[in-house]
Each structure stands twice: as C-alpha cells, then as structure tokens.
C-alpha cells in the first residue's frame, strides 16, 4: 500500500457573487417577458372598446346640435304632440312602472 496522494480539487463550476447576481437577474428578466407580453395582449384586447367609444365621441363632436334640449325635432314633438315633459301624454307614453320580482329567486 503506497502512500495515497490526496489532492485538493477546486470545484470546476464556480461563480462569483457578481456572476451569480447577473445570472439570477437574467433568469428573472426572461421569466418576466411572457408577463409583459400577456399584459400588452390584454391591453390591446380592450382597444376595440376604446375605438367604439371614440367613434361615438367623434359623432358627438361632428354633430351640429350637441344638447338634447337644442334638438328641433324634440321641440317639434312637444309642440305638436306631447306638450311638455311629464305632461299627461308624456306620462302615458314615455314613463313606466316597475315590479318587485324578488320572490322569483327567493
């Protein structure tokens, strides 16, 4: 039995503190990428809603008359037919009542 030659071997895979931090950072960044992508998808997903809303506000800006009491046809309907808001005809044709339906789901 000869003398065993023990020799200290350094771990070949060695990272410094600085390297460890940058690698962890890179992994975190790559993990976060899909989240950013999903977020932008979700944001875009509602763009058609914003586009429809913008379309109506555009219609408002384009309109010659922009207030309900300024609509000449509304005036005409009250003059020729319904008299005034909350008049007898208005109450009969433009107003309603509601019912209690809560028993239906009790």
């Amino acid at each position: 039995m000869g003398k065993k030659d023990y020799q200290y071997m350094e771990n070949p895979f060695q990272v410094t503190r600085r390297e460890f931090l940058s690698i962890t950072g890179a992994i975190a960044a790559f993990t976060a990428l899909p989240a950013v992508w999903v977020r932008s998808r979700v944001t875009k997903r509602n763009n058609y809603l914003r586009a429809r809303a913008a379309g109506l506000y555009l219609d408002d800006r384009n309109a010659k008359i922009r207030v309900s009491h300024g609509n000449p046809v509304v005036t005409k309907i009250y003059d020729e037919f319904a008299h005034a808001p909350l008049s007898e005809i208005s109450e009969a044709l433009f107003h309603t009542r509601y019912i209690n339906r809560s028993k239906g789901i009790a």
Binding site: L49, R52, N71, P72, V73, E80, F94, H95, T96, S102
Partner: protein, 426 residues
C-alpha cells in the same frame, strides 16, 4: 322548466340566453362575467343558466371562448317577412352603439362610425329610420325634468317627497339588465329608478302614435317597430306586458283606434342580427353610398349619440340640467370626469340657479360593469348614506358599446373587469 317562470310576468320571454350543451366545455369563463351568479355547473361539466336569476345581459355570450351561449329569440325571419309586405311600414329604431360596431361585421375596423352607411343599407332593405338617439334626447328631457323635481322636492323643506316625486338619488333606467337586476335583487330601490322608459320603448310608443299620424301617414296597426340594439336584454324588455302604451293611448285617450292590441316594439334585432339580415338580402353595408335618413325622425343631437358609452347618459343629462338651471350652455360641453373606463366615476357640479341666485351642488356617479362595481353604491343608497343626486348604471363593462348583442370580438369581449385583479399596476 317549471322553475323558469317565477320571476316573469305573463307574456314575457323567459331565458333569452341559453348554453348549448354540446359546445360547453365547462371552462367557467362565463361565470366570471355573470353579474348575478345565474350560471350553475361544476368546472368541467356542462353549465346551465337559471332564467329566473338571469338579467339577459349577454356578457357570457360575448365572453365565452367556445361560443356556447346563444340567443333563444331570433327575429330575423319575422322582420324579413314584414319587409316584404308592402302594406307594413317597418320602422328601424337604431341605438347609438350599433353605428360604431356594425362595421366590424362587414370588414371595417372597430370603431368605424357608419351612421350614414347604415341608414343607406337599411333604407335599401326597406326600413324607415327612427334614430334612437332622438328618443335618447327625449329621455334626457323626461328624466332630467324628473330629476329636477326630485331635487326641488328635497330642497323644499326636506319633507316627504311630493306626490309622484320619488326619493334621491335617482337611478337611470335606460339599461334593461340593470332594471331587472333591481327588480330581482333590490326591490327597495325601485322608487329610486327613474320612471322614464328606456329610449327604445319611448321610440316604439312615439313611432306608433306621432310617427304613424304625422310623419309616415299610416295606420298605427300597420307600423312594425324593430329595435336595432347592441343588447340581448332589449329582447326581454320589449316583451314586458306594460309596454303596450301606444295602443292604450290610441284606444282610450285618443279614442279612435279600435283594431287589435299591439306592442310598442314588435321585434328586436341585435347588431349581429341586423348584419345577418342585411347579408341575407345581399346588402354590403361597407359599400353603401350612405343616406341622411328619410324623415326628421333621424335627427339627433350629440348628447343623444353618446348614450352608448359609459358616462354618456350622465354627460348628456348634465348638459341639459346645466342649461335649465343656470340659463347658459355648459362650457365646454365635454364633461371628462364621467368619461373613461374606471369602474365607478363620480363628480360634483356647482350650478348657480338663474332664478333664485342660489348655488346648487349636484353630485353624480357613473357605474358600469355591475358585477364588480355596483355593490358599494347599492349599499350606500339602501343605508341612506349616498351622497349622490343622480347615478347612471349600465350593466356591461364600457357601456352599450360592449353590449351582449354586439359583434363578438375574436379575442373575447368584456374581459376588462375580470382581468383587472391580475394586472393591478395597469
């Protein structure tokens, strides 16, 4: 289905929305959008809709990734036969939100304003046009006057509100899903609902009385009114038995009409239904030259057209209330505090009364997306702590532009509120 009639009056259509059992994958997406918890079924199993709880908003329909929910009522064929009958005047009542969405069904980009093209296409199909924006203007006059009465009733000594004047705050009543939600879940709030009908029902009653006599010169029984709506709940609303007011008016008040009873609104087509009808008739809306409407019934104001957006009814009402109280027009007319997609928007408007010289502060709130946002507002009103005078409520997130009858977006609609908790930093 015996249970599905408990929360319905005689004549009403129960269950506008149903889920196709063969298509449903049990993914639970619809449950996250249902404002009333009407959808039952375990994850992975076929889901069902409890018609008694359902308020017909159709948010499940536009949000389902598989397209399983469908409408049980389809009036396209009925309207086609009426259009082919030359004795009948078919009147199309066009809601605000339809004009910025119908283009999507014909390949136009989302949000394209297609009012003229839609008028043209519908006239070609045989419709007479009654723009619902005109009825929206009427709604503002009626609902605004009612609001001022309620406020004056409260200011005059704080006694019990005068006969016929309900309590404050006043809720809007344009959204049929919201009205049914109140009737089902919070009947104590019914006195707070404006007694004004929704624009669709005002338009129907107007078409069969004033329109028939003064505009189109036809017998009221020969007018067939078709609501063109971004909304599935409007199909239910039109079937409510109290909405035969034009007939009652003509038979009792005017006294001359002796024909059969008829409803104010005969049929309702959603935006998708109208696109299907036009395609069946071979009409391409995108290629239409456009029209300005065939009568004065197509004349509307900018205030009427923004009814389709969340905050739009409130903004339109503020413009008129401002003019009535102060005697001058609001400057600028845009009221940005009530615009946008925030769940609950509130604002205070200070007005100087032109007659008395006193200052009046009007507090308003705007709610859309019932599921997430209505709870706190309702609790405040029920406990008498609500600081508001006027509250606008629309069931669908974003308002009617995102209604259950609108073109279904390929990536799904109505996700805004459901996704919010996941992306809190947005």
């Amino acid at each position: 289905m015996e249970s599905a009639t408990k929360s319905f009056q005689k004549g009403e259509i129960p269950g506008i929305i149903a889920i196709d059992e063969a298509t449903c994958k049990g993914c639970d997406s619809c449950k996250r959008h249902c404002p009333t918890g009407a959808i039952t079924g375990m994850f992975g199993a076929v889901h069902r809709i409890d018609a008694d709880r359902c308020i017909n908003c159709g948010q499940c329909l536009v949000s389902c990734p598989f397209g399983a929910p469908f409408e049980t009522v389809d009036a396209v064929e009925t309207v086609l036969t009426r259009l082919n009958n030359k004795d009948v005047a078919v009147v199309g009542i066009i809601a605000p939100a339809v004009r910025v969405a119908i283009g999507e069904e014909f390949g136009l980009p989302a949000g394209t304003l297609a009012t003229a093209r839609m008028y043209g296409a519908m006239e070609k199909a045989g419709f007479k046009i009654l723009d619902n924006n005109l009825a929206a203007d009427l709604t503002i006059m009626e609902e605004g006057t009612e609001l001022l009465h309620r406020i004056q009733g409260e200011l005059s000594g704080g006694e019990a509100p005068e006969e016929g004047h309900g309590p404050l705050p006043q809720f809007t009543s344009c959204c049929p899903a919201w009205v049914r939600y109140v009737e089902l879940n919070h009947p104590a709030l019914i006195p707070h609902l404006s007694s004004a009908k929704s624009p669709q029902q005002m338009a129907g009653a107007l078409a069969k009385t004033y329109g028939a006599q003064k505009i189109w010169g036809v017998e009221p029984g020969k007018v067939f009114t078709v609501g063109i709506m971004p909304c599935t709940a409007k199909k239910f609303e039109a079937s409510r038995p109290e909405f035969i007011s034009a007939y009652h008016h003509l038979a009792a008040g005017g006294g001359t009409y002796s024909g059969e009873a008829f409803p104010d609104v005969d049929a309702v087509l959603t935006t998708r239904d109208l696109a299907r009808l036009l395609k069946k008739m071979g009409i391409d809306l995108a290629k239409e030259p456009g029209s300005a409407g065939d009568s004065v019934m197509a004349e509307y104001s900018g205030a009427g057209t923004i009814f389709g957006n969340t905050g739009g009814v409130m903004e339109a009402a503020l413009r008129t209330v401002h003019a009535v109280i102060t005697g001058t027009e609001m400057e600028p007319l845009e009221y940005r505090d009530v615009r946008g997609l925030k769940g609950v928007k509130s604002a205070s408007v200070n007005l100087i009364d032109a007659k008395t010289g006193k200052a009046l502060q009007v507090n308003v709130a705007v709610v859309h997306g019932l599921k997430e946002n209505i709870g706190a507002i309702v609790d405040e009103v029920l406990s008498g702590r609500s600081p508001y005078h006027f509250i606008e409520v629309m069931n669908c997130p974003g308002g009617c532009i995102n209604g259950g009858g609108q073109p279904v977006h390929p990536e799904g609609s109505g996700w805004m509120s459901a996704i919010a908790p996941l992306f809190a930093w947005r």
